[in-house]
């Protein structure tokens, strides 16, 4: 081991020297820097711990997975240049490029990808996203390995038969495998630095990366700086020398910094000022449909929400058109089903009240409420639990006011994200202002999430739903798979466990100086493709 370290150290010094000459050769004034707004400080940049999509931006820049997303969020070759899948859809084989290197010059081998997956699953790592390899990508042996300390990594269905081949074995076919294998989901592990520094291997002074960029600075509550990685295989096509992600907690402040030219692109745009910003900025304002659906969820373990008449009445009382177009005005798209309707191949089922005229809808809502035993003398009292996010809070308040109009006494309880989650899992909520972001386009992430056996916390049981999902999971043909997913979604909608509301947008202000920014549904924007002109 010591020998290996010595070699590693020698290479590190050598690459540092190369870096230094490379930097010296470029005059400081010609340095191209991209300034990106980031929102709140990153929770963690540990590639095997991170959940967050925003942290994923940085991760996509400094780590490259087997496959990687381009600027249009299409998955293509990353560290692997080609791959194949077995006929039963259960075995995926990825072939790495020649001559891949880590940022310190160490060779990047197939085992590094295996080690990454194993670290994430290792109970000692205590990664909150260990579930990924058994509930999202169903890798053979992953759940068992995560459950108990001291398991044998060889029992997990990921292996490196040689330095250039990674083989993954699944329990069920997964037609969307490439989306699930992207950089931020399956990053490799630089084993020597991890063994040397433990969890501190991600500190800027220790970090070794394999992506287009290397992390140079991580200042909490301030910024994360990335510099170009000269050892990246495609370094010739990486344009910017430096990328700085600025922590911009408050969207109003971020907007002001963009105005003052301090940022090339914002993380967020205040959703209540879109109209004004549109007239001010024209096509610099980018509003793109996102893979996030928002909906209300009912706590069916609490009276009277166990009564479908009450759930239905509350659903009928919501005017989606007013909510989206008059109150939120965030460019959200009205959604009549549970999943975000973004794949034309999917026949999305709809809730019936979506197409009803307003008068009929409200009349039915009142009638249902009366039937359930509520009226002016005995008004239904409801609390909507929401996060403190401004848009969510306004949505909850708007709905509360709509319910007020059918005689329901509604109020909103807005809490910080973490406390809101706690309330949800503690089961003390009544109605939740809920949402889910998909890992990929299409309905699958959403419909799988609601599967009762996935225990997502709704205490719902449905054998029919399980049966439909079981059928879907056996299909590697997308049309057949979607047919069964639609059956499941129909069952969910008819039960009124949730009330579909909308599909959200990602919103950015992009400076005309920034080239190579492509709007896309997954809101993925690798810095590799960007440059600054003028």
């Amino acid at each position: 081991m010591g020998n290996l370290f010595a070699r590693g150290l020698g290479k590190a010094l050598l690459s540092a020297a190369i870096c230094a000459t490379a930097l010296a050769a470029t005059p400081a004034s010609a340095e191209m820097v991209i300034n990106r707004g980031f929102g709140a400080s990153p929770d963690t940049l540990d590639p095997h711990m991170n959940f967050g999509a925003r942290e994923g931006w940085i991760q996509d820049d400094i780590y490259e997975g087997l496959v990687a997303s381009n600027d249009k969020a299409e998955m293509g070759p990353g560290a692997a240049e080609k791959w194949e899948v077995s006929d039963d859809g259960l075995t995926w084989t990825f072939h790495l490029r020649d001559g891949l290197k880590w940022s310190n010059g160490d060779p990047l081998v197939a085992q590094d990808f295996v080690n990454g997956v194993i670290r994430q699953l290792d109970p000692k790592t205590a990664s909150p996203r260990a579930y990924y390899y058994y509930s999202t990508v169903k890798v053979v042996g992953a759940a068992e390995f995560n459950e108990k300390e001291g398991g044998d990594p060889k029992t997990v269905g990921i292996s490196a038969p040689d330095d250039k081949t990674v083989v993954i074995k699944l329990l069920a076919p997964q037609p969307n495998m490439l989306y699930l294998m992207g950089s931020y989901h399956v990053p490799p592990l630089h084993t020597p630095s991890f063994e040397k520094f433990g969890g501190d291997f991600i500190k800027p002074e220790n970090i070794v990366n394999n992506g287009p960029y290397v992390m140079k600075e991580n200042v909490p509550q301030s910024h994360v700086t990335l510099v170009k990685n000269p050892n990246y295989w495609d370094a010739a096509n990486v344009k910017a020398d430096k990328v700085v992600y600025h922590v911009t907690e408050d969207d109003q402040t971020e907007l002001k910094r963009f105005r003052a030219g301090e940022l090339h692109v914002t993380n967020e745009v205040p959703s209540d000022q879109l109209e004004q910003l549109k007239s001010e900025y024209g096509d610099q304002l980018r509003i793109t449909t996102y893979v996030e659906a928002q909906y209300l969820s009912f706590n069916i373990t609490k009276q009277p929400f166990d009564d479908i008449r009450v759930r239905k009445a509350l659903a009928y009382a919501i005017d989606r058109d007013v909510l989206q177009n008059k109150i939120l005005k965030a460019g959200y798209q009205i959604n009549c089903g549970y999943s975000p309707p973004n794949d034309p191949r999917y026949q999305q089922p709809h809730v019936e009240e979506c197409d009803m005229p307003k008068e009929e809808r409200v009349a039915k809502a009142k009638a249902l409420l009366q039937e359930a035993g509520f009226g002016p003398d005995n008004p239904l009292k409801v609390t909507i639990d929401s996060t403190t996010d401004n848009t969510s809070k306004r949505q909850a308040e708007g709905i509360a006011l709509m319910w007020k109009q059918i005689g329901v006494e509604a109020k909103v309880n807005a809490q910080e994200f973490q406390a809101w989650m706690d309330t949800f899992y503690a089961g003390s909520w009544e109605v939740l202002n809920d949402n889910l972001v998909a890992d990929m386009p299409g309905p699958e992430s959403h419909v799988v999430y609601m599967q009762p056996s996935a225990e997502s916390g709704y205490n719902w049981k449905s054998d029919e739903y399980e049966a439909a999902m079981e059928k879907a999971s056996q299909q590697s043909d997308i049309a057949q798979r979607y047919k069964h997913l639609a059956e499941a979604e129909r069952i969910l909608l008819d039960y009124y466990l949730t009330v579909p509301l909308n599909v959200t947008t990602s919103r950015h202000l992009v400076s005309p100086k920034l080239k190579g920014w492509e709007d896309n549904m997954l809101d993925v924007h690798p810095s590799k493709y960007m440059s600054v002109e003028g």
């Binding site: 109970p123 000692k124 909150p128 200042v219 909490p220 509550q221 408050d250 402040t253 973490q418």
Partner: protein, 306 residues
């Protein structure tokens, strides 16, 4: 006086211990855990996390572990910012909060006391009224309205100062310091004015005047020192609060200080972070009170160090 100071510092140790104990156990009473993520975690993952953070041990053992760590200046790992230990976060954030806070308090002290004196001497005149109005505006308009207004004025319209951010330049510090100082200027000027008026007619000042000492000297030497007492009583805790960061100012101006850790940590049930900041904060407040008492003793000979 030295003996008094040392005695006060030693006496502060139990206070600090009480503070540590209260915050530790109260934080444990707060509902919810720090691990809720975007999805419901499986039992196995929660068990792994609890083990990693020693949350599976009895509470008294956790407390002992925590105290042991504190003796080594180890505040434990942050659960929210998992890339950093609490000590690292404080080392990053505290100097920033300290710098802004100290400048803001200096500004507030100088301007506030000056305004207070002017108000008291030109009592009920136009000057007094305008000082009163300035003070009122400082108090009446909340920081989160003044902040954005100044950002728009000096950052956008005039383009003199950066809107937000922390690049170490002097320009980036001006707005936050001013915004942080404003409410303190208002408080101090009013306190100063009130106690100055009172002192000006206290017996010893009258005596001094009767003895024929010039009005100017009366103000500067006798009345001022007497009138400073309530202001100093206020300055102590206020300085401690200000140097440990203002949540809102740090949020509006994107300043990487520890004030924001209060919010983030408490909202996200990051026990070690909240406690680390709490203990630091408590230590500073205790220190500020000792300094206040000593300073009052120097100014007012009637306060004895007992």
């Amino acid at each position: 006086m030295l003996a008094f100071s040392i005695r006060r510092i030693i006496g502060a140790v139990p206070t600090l211990l009480a503070l540590i104990a209260i915050s530790f156990f109260v934080m444990r009473l707060a509902p919810g855990g720090p691990f809720a993520a975007n999805r419901k975690l499986t039992e196995a993952i929660i068990a792994n996390l609890n083990k990693a953070y020693h949350l599976d041990e009895p509470v008294w053992m956790q407390f002992g572990r925590y105290l042991w760590g504190l003796l080594h200046f180890d505040f434990g790992p942050s659960m929210k910012y998992r890339d950093f230990s609490v000590t690292e976060l404080i080392v990053h954030g505290f100097p920033v909060s300290l710098e802004i806070g100290v400048w803001a308090m200096l500004l507030a002290g100088v301007v506030g006391i000056a305004l207070g004196i002017v108000g008291a001497l030109r009592r009920n005149g136009v000057t007094d009224l305008s000082v009163g109005i300035i003070a009122m505006v400082g108090v009446a308009i909340p920081t989160f309205v003044i902040g954005p207004l100044l950002q728009i004025l000096f950052g956008l319209k005039l383009g003199w100062l950066p809107i937000a951010g922390w690049d170490g330049s002097v320009n980036a510090k001006i707005l936050p310091i001013v915004v942080l100082a404003l409410p303190n200027i208002a408080y101090i000027s009013r306190l100063m004015r009130g106690s100055m008026i009172e002192t000006l007619r206290a017996n010893y000042v009258r005596t001094a005047r009767a003895k024929g000492i010039g009005a100017r000297r009366v103000v500067w030497k006798h009345a001022l020192t007497g009138a400073m007492l309530p202001v100093i009583a206020y300055l102590g805790p206020a300085t401690a609060i200000t140097v440990t960061g203002s949540v809102i100012v740090e949020q509006i101006f994107g300043i990487p200080g520890i004030g924001r850790y209060f919010v983030e940590g408490a909202a996200n049930r990051d026990y070690p972070l909240v406690m680390g900041v709490t203990i630091l904060y408590g230590g500073i407040v205790i220190l500020a009170n000792i300094v206040t008492d000593v300073a009052r003793g120097i100014i007012d000979p009637k306060v004895s160090y007992e």
